[in-house]
Amino acid sequence: MSVKKYAVAIRDVIAEEMRRDKDVFIIGEDIAEQGGIFGCTRGLLDEFGGRVRNTPISEAGFVGAGIGAALAGMRPIVELMYMDFTYVAMDMILNQAAKLRYMYGGKASIPMVIRGQQGIGRGNAGTHSQSLEAFFVHIPGLKVAMPSNAADAAGLLRTAIRDNNPIMFFEHKALYASSCEVPDDPDFTVPFGKASVVRPGSDVTVIATSLMVSRALEAAEKLASEGINAEIIDPRTVLPLDIDTIVDSVKKTGRAVIVHEAHKTGGVGAEIASQITEKAFKYLDAPVERLGAKACTLPFSLVLEDAVVPGVDNIVEGAKTVLYK
């Protein structure tokens, strides 16, 4: 074990996998000399040379190039500086990467990881602060990971790079500086589709993703001080989704709150809430409570941003709502 920052954990896994498998390479904007504007590729150019390439600012073009290289047998990692830029590469991701294998009758595969950061935390305003995982869950063919800590980032990313399918890997800009113990084992992986129970509890189940996990933990402490014992579950991958772990918890608590940073309307929370209700209807003492960003573009001003994205107090309230307190 070593204590590592989230960004360093990611960088180290990329380096280790590139050492292990010469078919792995990485392309993206400003990832070479600069080492990525968040440092996730720092130092890789020196070790791997031409396998680490700065791209022109042309996301559809270089995501498409990743797809072509993958079809031709390589294992590309494509860094998007902000996952918001999936918008300019959406056809390549949702019509090509996600569909080609199926449309080709299973006769091709696209082992590719599209990774980058999303979310709030830098005052980048509406087009650089979104959380977009819901899109990639709706259209079949991709897998979607969103690690909430350095260890999961390392374990999930290694799983992603070794997976033979196209993966959307959502890091969070506000987590890059966070650190925790990360296993040194160069084969340490975290499986997709296995949620982690971050905090065991008995009164209410709180399902939280990415940055919201830490807020949920804070909320749990506040709730504990009021005698409410919350169980917190981090799905870690929203596709595949480990609904069983979630449903087992809800059957125990009878109450569920889902919190994500993405917009509440049409977010992954709606899917999870629906599945919980479908699978644990008789156990629910209250309707599943969904928390997510309000229905407006993320504002630049910090006071406004705070009013839009769920905070600790909103999670506390949410838990009390389903407990009718």
């Binding site: 022109p56 073009g61 995501v63 072509g68 993958a70 080709y104 006769k107």
Partner: protein, 318 residues
């Protein structure tokens, strides 16, 4: 041109022609659905280009892809079965006419999204470069596709990274009903090569010798690691954009005039004049193509429908 390759090109052009005539007939008999985009009249480009490639070279194709996939080695029976959505088709009925691929033959696939094959081929070229092989990637696309953003992004990327990619524009002068002069700001799309500092050439796309000469030049450059090229082949599609096109955008005369420029007839005349082949040989070649397509039709028609219980297979691989 070596006789062997000339005969291969001739054979492939005939097979593509018959294949599509058959597809049209099956469509009119309602034995086949979807949008079938016929490449009849344009056969010279895919056949000549692919006659220069090996199975380990890559191509990406378009919605008008029957020619490319047959020229790159697809078997007409499995291809026709795919057009009919049969279980025995290349995609097991999942993809249809616009998604035939055969990675084992270097065909990275037809693509129903205009321009999408361009960056994908660019990536296949990147794979070759990273592995240090002399493989090349060829992407076929239309005049209309040259106005999509991915055309720009793909050519710029291939140029700055000196990738072994050959961009082959089949300028058949229309994007559905829209004439190239209305959609495209340059008369010769090849001029756009200047925007990427790469060679650009215009050739008569119905003349296999002209296409061959230009492509060979680009191929040498690509295999030597000197970077990409853009080749514009002027040609024409005889049939509507898709089966059922009212064709309000052109005159019958224009179509007839282009039919007189048939790439197959043109090659036949050359071979007869030069004594490469006699009339008997030509008749035999036609008979052979007819036989192949007749067999393909039997195969496709007698193939089973896909099994719906397996519809969720192959979304992911292990």
């Amino acid at each position: 041109m070596e006789k062997k390759r000339m005969l291969k090109i001739y054979h492939d052009m005939l097979v593509i022609r018959r294949f599509e005539e058959k597809a049209l007939k099956l469509f009119e008999e309602n034995k086949l659905r979807g949008s079938v985009h016929l490449t009849i009249g344009q056969e010279a480009v895919p056949t000549t280009v692919c006659s220069n490639l090996g199975d380990d070279d890559y191509i990406t194709s378009t919605h008008r892809g029957h020619g490319h996939c047959i020229a790159k080695g697809a078997e007409p029976d499995k291809a026709l079965a795919e057009l009919m959505g049969k279980a025995t088709g290349y995609c097991g009925g999942r993809g249809g006419s616009m998604h035939i691929a055969d990675v084992t033959k270097g065909n990275l696939g037809a693509n129903a999204i205009v321009g999408a094959g361009i960056p994908i081929a660019t990536g296949a070229g990147l794979a070759a470069q990273l592995r240090g092989t002399d493989q090349v990637a060829v992407t076929f696309f239309g005049d209309g596709a040259s106005n999509e953003g991915v055309f720009h992004e793909g050519l710029n990327l291939a140029s700055v990274w000196k990738l072994p990619v050959i961009f082959v524009c089949e300028n058949n002068q229309f994007g559905i009903s829209t004439h190239v002069s209305i959609s495209t700001s340059v008369e010769d799309i090849a001029v756009r090569a200047k925007a990427y500092n790469i060679p650009g050439t215009v050739v008569d796309g119905n003349d296999i010798f002209a296409v061959d000469k230009a492509f060979k030049k680009a191929l040498v450059r690509a295999r030597k690691g000197e970077g990409p090229s853009l080749i514009e082949c002027k040609t024409y599609r005889w049939y509507g954009h898709w089966t059922g096109d009212p064709e309000v955008y052109r005159t019958r005369e224009e179509v007839e005039e282009w039919k007189r420029k048939c790439p197959i007839k043109r090659l036949e005349k050359y071979m007869l004049d030069e004594g490469v082949m006699d009339q008997a040989g030509i008749d035999a070649a036609h008979a052979e193509a007819d036989r192949i397509i007749a067999e393909a039709e039997d195969f496709a028609i007698n193939s089973p429908e896909p099994d719906p219980t397996h519809v969720l297979d192959n979304v992911y691989c292990d």
